[in-house]
Amino acid sequence: MGEKVLMKGNEAIAEAAIRAGCLHYFGYPITPQTEIAAYMAKRMPKVGGVFLQAESEIAAINMVLGVAAAGKRVMTSSSSPGVSLKSEGMSYISGSDVPALVVNVQRGGPGLGGIQPSQSDYFQAVKGGSHGDYKRIVLAPASVQEMASLTTKAFDLADKYSILTMILADGTMGQMMEPVELETTEPVKYEKPWATTGTKMQRKHNIVNSLYLKPEELEKKNFERFAKYKTIEENEVMYEEYLMDDAEICVVSFGITSRVAKNAIVEARAKGIKVGMIRPITLWPFPTEVLNKAADKCKAFISVEMNMGQMIEDVKLAIECKKPVHLCCRVGGMIPSPEEVLAKIEEVNEGGER
């Protein structure tokens, strides 16, 4: 790793991607992620890469599919409404089992919504959003350092499993600056014997496709894919535990809200309330096991998120409804304050509100 530099989260993603060997970026501008495209426009020509501002998000994601089929590292980025436009192409990428990275720097919705930060695309990211039976690996950074390091990770996971990965950030994470140490080691190279790189008349054609007209074949494909997803669920879960050793209340939060929650937890601890946090870093695969274990010790859970309660459903599933799960949220571009989170912790601690 190199020296610490001050970068915006969006810029950190872009630089980390280039260092991970991603030399193909296709995108279309939208606030609050435009710095990714701007950074790529500036840097790609200097490193022999391709930056292309497509005519639309739909065009950009299909260019991503093309490069992914050729076995090269590739990404696109957007914010909420733009990601909706990309969702068809994302399903094709999942159905073709090719590796690629999509970054969503979320803003408030639905519709055109607003431009201020939000986490309201949680469902879209982890539950579907595109058509068909599929999963994608979803990583949720909570610092500018993680915007960089999880981008590196996202490319590695994509190649390792031939899968679409997503960075689910938000406007705050994209716009804020923090010190970041960038990767200086060479990216890991993965063999891609399936890539459509030309046969040179020496092998059979490789075909990358998501069309299977015989239902038996398509069913088999789906079964194989879900076997792969099971391996990912067993091996790739990432989370951070914060002050959980003696915690009676467990906050669950990801991204920017986990940062706000940390302030509230410090305040609550100072008041003698035993509260800690489990922060999912992978939203899929979700850290089900650690949450389920926590449910045996804790008396209640609080899901802190910037939507009307989306991740809270996964928390309830993970703990099999063994304990009550409360919601603390702001939406529409509003960010909960540490005081609001603290008030909820105190309320839950006193046994109120169910």
């Binding site: 001050l6 431009i115 406007g171 705050t172 923090e178 010190p179 920017i256 940062r259 410090v266 540490p338």
Partner: protein, 178 residues
């Protein structure tokens, strides 16, 4: 001294609010502290009000959002109106008194009036009121200091404009001496 200093810079877009914040952040980084910098973004960048949250801390930083500042830099009246009451008791408010005619009404905070915009135009450095007021900030906020200003300035002044280093230093000095 507090372990964590929450600073809010606020003013019009174009006054160099984000730049001043970035300078203070970089200074903290190069001094080995934890720092975060969070701008308002969107329409504000295009000529409305702009603000940025800067946190300089001995400890890792939780929320990067400064809602209760220890230090407020107000470079226009709407900013003072909006944030005066959010400053923590015992905090500090720096006011550009060229652009803000009214006085701070709080009595439980320290207030510094600096005619930064007036000083800047007097000295022919019109665009550097932000750094004049920042010079004063470095003097009066005990968690900050006037030491080691060259390196962070070198980082925040873009490579193309390194000729502006000296004039930025002059502006910081002006505020410091005021």
């Amino acid at each position: 001294m507090k372990k964590t200093t929450n600073i809010l810079f606020a003013g019009f877009g174009g006054q160099g609010i984000l730049f001043a914040g970035k300078f203070v952040a970089y200074k903290g980084l190069l001094e080995g502290k934890h720092i975060s910098w969070l701008p308002s973004y969107g329409p504000e960048m295009r000529g409305g009000t702009a603000n940025c949250s800067v946190i300089v801390s001995e400890d890792p930083i939780g929320s990067p959002i400064v809602s209760k500042p220890d230090v407020l830099v107000a470079m226009n009246l709407p900013s003072l109106d909006k944030y005066e009451n959010e400053v923590v008791p015992g905090g500090k408010i720096f006011v550009d008194s060229t652009l803000i005619e009214r006085k701070v009404t709080r009595t439980d905070v320290d207030v510094y009036y600096i005619p930064a915009t007036g000083l800047a135009s007097e000295k022919g450095i019109n665009t550097l009121a932000n750094m004049i007021i920042t010079g004063k900030l470095l003097k009066e906020v005990e968690e900050l200091s006037f030491d080691n200003i060259d390196a962070p300035l070198g980082k925040v002044v873009s490579a193309r404009h390194q000729d502006l280093l000296e004039v930025n230093k002059t502006a910081l000095q002006l505020g410091y001496d005021y």
